[in-house]
Amino acid sequence: MPQPTITSANPLTERLLIAAAVGVVGLLIVVPLASVFAEAFAEGPAAWWRALAHDPDTRHAIWLSLTVAPLAVAINTVFGVATAWLVSRFRFPGRALLITLCDVPFSVSPVVAGLALVLIFGRQGLLGPMLQSLGWKVIFAWPGLVLATTFVTLPLVVRELIPVMEAIGPEEELAAVSLGASGWQVFTRITLPNIRWALLHGIVLANARAMGEFGAVYVVSGHIAGATDTMPLRVEKLFQEYRTPASMAVASVLAGLALVTLVAKVVIERHLEAEAHALAAARSLPDSLDNTPHDASLTTSTKGPVA
């Protein structure tokens, strides 16, 4: 324990606070997490495997989750990169509104999002008759699942990239353009390497959210077992059928994935912190130097070609 300072509490208070905090986190987070795995393996690993592999509907749910989530994340990655580029490198009327609109999926209840999709693509919806005549199914089929998942994970990559791209600044990219690089070259050789950790962070978070999404997918899927149940929906269906051990087995896979996500997140965040420190160090020159153009080379000397 470090030396107590004038601003720290007395040791007894500190220990009580630690106990209280550990108690809160333990009760609310650790105990539930542990019980998922305990209950999933309560009847032994063989029973756990049987619940996952021998049930065709569960197998399908796993496959469905593994295809819908990455697709939604891929779409949102493209969107995220494009929007972050637009917002951080250009100024235009409506920019602030755009940023706010990107945050809307965060504050809309997933059920409301699913309802909106049903109102558009459902049989009695806006595009219902047109879709029916084309024979396309969106609601109660996997396209609807992808749309719903894409909606709820929309902000996740963008919000990661915008602060990083604004902090890094356009100097390197401008330098590249002035040296004759094409847009694509600027993007792949300058921007992408600079944002790769933030991008990875956003992708990891978006994937966790996409695989775990319940409310929006519940509404658009019609929860037809074996056809449109993703893993979280499968957990619910098994629970409704009083097949709790099987439900726990699927839940344990999702919980395991959550733990992998957390580990990846911690690793990526270490890289992000290191990059942020490097950036701050490179920029930590007095303000007077930043304002005079002919001294700009000093601030970018460690990062790229001098214009």
């Binding site: 905090a21 706010t100 409301v112 009695q124 356009p170 100097e171 002035s178 629970f239």
Partner: protein, 282 residues
């Protein structure tokens, strides 16, 4: 070299940098298709009901009960979450102890864990035969299939928000002011109440608002533990789904719009608060 950066070119839309056209096209397409159109469809469908029918649909006794359960449980959960969040953030920032890094990582579990898993596990924990229920039920604490269960699960999902908003503000707190206060004779309690708390109060309020927003929209976790009894433990999103399954689109849309208005209002408030926190932290 006098190279203009995009930030100073307020007169021109384009700049030296490439890619404006393509990125603008992708962004506009996605935002229109995924955000603007769905919201517009909801609004238009609700508007097409006309005021009396809308009120009749959105203000039924069952809907009113659902709003009450949703708001009541979410407010309670947000308050509990804010207090616990402040406690955990305080311990993580101000006290050094073995296992602190682990505790810090555990805080993010509710963000990564699917809400359905959280709901499933909470309901199995608190029923009579569950790990916690076997102690609590004999004491009369019925957390499963009750309002208490809803609050517990909502605290679970909102805890990362209240902690992660307060943590950076606590970290960047100026120790000099604190030390000055203590050296001038203030007790620890006085210092906390009059120096520290006012400084972190905006962040705590932001965390509260974020937790409330998160709790209001939550569906997956609550659906397992609440029992979804109309008028008692049915939250608004559950009622919406119920109405949808009965093909009562008008009623579902009306209730959804009420929920949406509550959420968007909170979003605006949170954005304003977050800007204030950012300004204060500098």
């Amino acid at each position: 070299m006098n190279m203009p950066t995009p930030a100073r070119q307020t007169a021109r839309r384009r700049s030296v940098l490439p890619g404006f056209g393509m990125s603008a096209a992708i962004t506009t397409l996605m935002i229109t298709a995924m955000v603007i159109i769905p919201l517009a469809v909801l609004g238009l469908r609700a508007a097409s009901l006309g005021p009396t029918e809308f009120l009749a649909a959105a203000w039924t006794p069952r809907a009113r009960a659902a709003y009450a359960v949703s708001l009541g449980a979410s407010l309670t959960a947000a308050i509990v979450s804010s207090v616990c969040g402040l406690l955990v953030a305080w311990v993580l920032v101000r006290i050094n102890f073995p296992g602190r890094r682990l505790l810090d990582s555990l805080v993010d579990v509710p963000l990564a864990l699917p809400t359905a898993v959280a709901g499933l596990v909470y309901s199995t924990l608190y029923v009579e035969r569950g790990w916690l229920g076997r102690f609590l039920v004999p004491m009369g604490v019925q957390a499963a299939y009750s309002w208490l269960g809803i609050v517990l699960v909502l605290v679970f999902v909102s805890l990362p928000f209240t902690i992660r908003v307060v943590q950076p503000v606590l970290e960047s707190l100026d120790r000099d002011t604190e030390e000055a206060s203590r050296m001038l004779g203030a007790s620890r309690r006085q210092t906390f109440l009059r120096v520290i708390l006012p400084a972190i109060f905006p962040a705590v309020i932001t965390g509260f608002a974020l937790a409330l927003a998160r709790a209001l929209g939550e569906y997956g976790a609550v659906v397992f533990i609440s029992g979804n009894m109309p008028f008692k433990t049915e939250i608004a999103p559950v009622l919406i789904v119920s109405r949808l399954e009965e093909f009562a689109y008008a009623e579902a849309t009306a209730i959804a719009v009420v929920l949406l208005v509550m959420s968007i209002t909170l979003l605006v408030i949170v954005n304003g608060l977050q800007q204030r926190v950012a300004r204060n932290a500098q």
